[in-house]
Symmetry: C2
Subunit: 330 residues, 2 copies
């Protein structure tokens, strides 16, 4: 049985799937806030163990938030995982902890897009841009039916395409990147800035000192809050711009839009982005582009992680001595 793990900043969601990709079991845990990567490994093991153990457990896939070296299973950078300060060989260490069960690790947006390609809104389409609009803006490329990771593993990072030259500062240090305009965190920063400068907005009133969640944006938008409208308009416009440029250079006819903010704002949001993208494309080419909301919502990451095991056909990563060496380095 294959098991897929969606390793998120706040929770771990794990599913077991059958040969048709149907979920036959699920388990959840909070992502440990203390203990760093080894505590995360233990938490993943407990969710996996609740579903299957070797020899019934044949393989485990993990989708991790951050920069992953798929070929070695190393998570090189994961700013959203507590205490994950330096590269960690999650694949080998997890495999050892699971008695040598083969483990694959990939970026969470890659596995989410893989799931939409196999089981969701992009089923049967070999060329897909996966776009995940949540706290940040993530992207993944499926070209000719295969995830493109690229030599550095960063392929698909649409969130760092430039949409406003010299514009807002992005979390990565760059300027005018898509994520600064269309990610929930960037929108929240901007809303709080505007409130600090005296602009009234329901966004700050509803969220107060808490995180300005996707629901807060949805409610403020429904109440016709002008700051929320302006921020979402700008997100739509910049998402359209980046998608147009990406679609032109990649020649991908289908974009699947998922992620917390997009799921919450719904099909209208996705339609508006599609209209914005089309307006920027060469005449005759935009018509070939379709945007669809993701089908799989919260389950996509874990499903896609489980699919990694069967689709990628790479040799299992774990070599026990590698795992031991890696652990002893900590």
């Amino acid at each position: 049985m294959n098991v897929g793990v969606d390793l998120g900043g706040t929770k771990i969601y794990t599913v077991a799937i059958d040969s048709r990709g149907e979920i036959v079991g699920e388990a959840k845990a909070k992502t440990p806030v203390k203990g760093g990567p080894m505590a995360v490994v233990d938490a993943i093991c407990s969710t996996v163990g609740a579903l299957a153990r070797p020899p019934e457990l044949s393989a485990v896939g993990v989708g991790a938030p951050g920069a992953v070296d798929f070929s070695t299973g190393e998570v090189r950078r994961a700013p959203n995982l507590p205490g994950w300060m330096e590269p960690f060989p999650l694949g080998p260490v997890l495999s050892e902890a699971l008695d040598g069960t083969p483990v694959w690790v990939d970026n969470d947006v890659n596995v989410g897009t893989l799931a939409e390609h196999r089981l969701g809104a992009a089923a049967g389409q070999p060329d897909v841009l996966g776009l995940f609009v949540g706290t940040g803006v993530g992207g993944a490329l499926l070209l000719d039916g295969r995830i493109r990771r690229g030599p550095t593993g960063f392929a698909g990072e649409i969130g760092h395409m430039v949409v406003s030259p010299g514009g807002r500062r992005c979390g990565c240090g760059g300027r005018g990147h898509l994520e600064a305009y269309a990610g929930r965190a960037g929108m929240e920063r901007r809303a709080r800035q505007m409130a600090d400068r005296g602009t009234d907005t329901a966004l700050v009133e509803v969220a107060r000192a808490k995180r300005m969640t996707s629901s807060v944006f949805a409610r403020a938008l429904a109440a016709k809050d002008s700051v929320a409208s302006m921020l979402v308009d700008r997100a739509v416009e910049t998402l359209g711009l980046a998608i147009a440029s990406a679609a032109v250079i990649l020649d991908v006819p289908l974009v699947v839009v998922g992620g917390g903010l997009a799921d919450r704002l719904g099909a209208t949001f996705v339609e508006r982005i599609g209209t914005a993208a089309l307006a920027q494309m060469p005449s005759g080419q935009g018509e070939a582009l379709t945007l669809v909301p993701g089908d799989l919502k919260d389950r996509g990451g874990a499903l896609g992680a489980a699919l990694l095991c069967e689709l990628e056909g790479a040799a299992p990563l774990a070599e026990p001595h590698v795992a031991v060496m890696a652990r002893s380095r900590r």
Copy 2:
């Protein structure tokens, strides 16, 4: 013997290559200005025939300016070829005219990039963005060692990425596309506009009623003409922007810059574009990006076309009855 044809708007340049990719013969002809596609076929045949004939002639590759369906050999759109008003099955018709010799046809930027990958500045690199700055701005993608054409055949069209939202009108009808800022034709339009509005510039004085060639730009730049400097600065900046966004989403570490204008402006131009690109990328990622001038200059297109024959391994395109049907449709 394999023969490669660079079909340009003004001339046809044809080479025969040996198994090491060395040029062992070349032939030239003017691109016929009358007679449309069939006259072009005749002209290509005469250059090919001057180098080899069946059975010594084993295959022919053609690089054509415009939208090409590689799988069928059809040139769907070629605005720079005289009288080429509608789609034309160049591959099948040329194959028939060459007594059934297998023919492959691809976009000229694709074959130019292929040549740089096999014999030039990108030798040995599996992931390459080819950028050709000439009358327009063309691009091609080599991913994992293979040309990506995409489902519509437009993959790599970096010239139509948006670099200035809502900005200058592009030849394709869109706004703010790279080609409007960095293509020679777009720069010429802008220079003449400025001159019409009263700004003095050596560009218009040197070019007069003739085309503002790459040499005109190079001379005006050397003479520190302020309009030429401004236009080239803007070209550098927008090329950097588009390359940064393309490199981020594709994860390509190498960009080969060729084309008439880039060849004429030389290594400094390419270096400046590299600096501009780096400034737009996420910290830690720009350092992985290298820009190099193309090695093969004017010979790249024909060489790459000849390489098509051996690299692509597709079945020969020509089926005599297809060619006949296509011809009778005209």
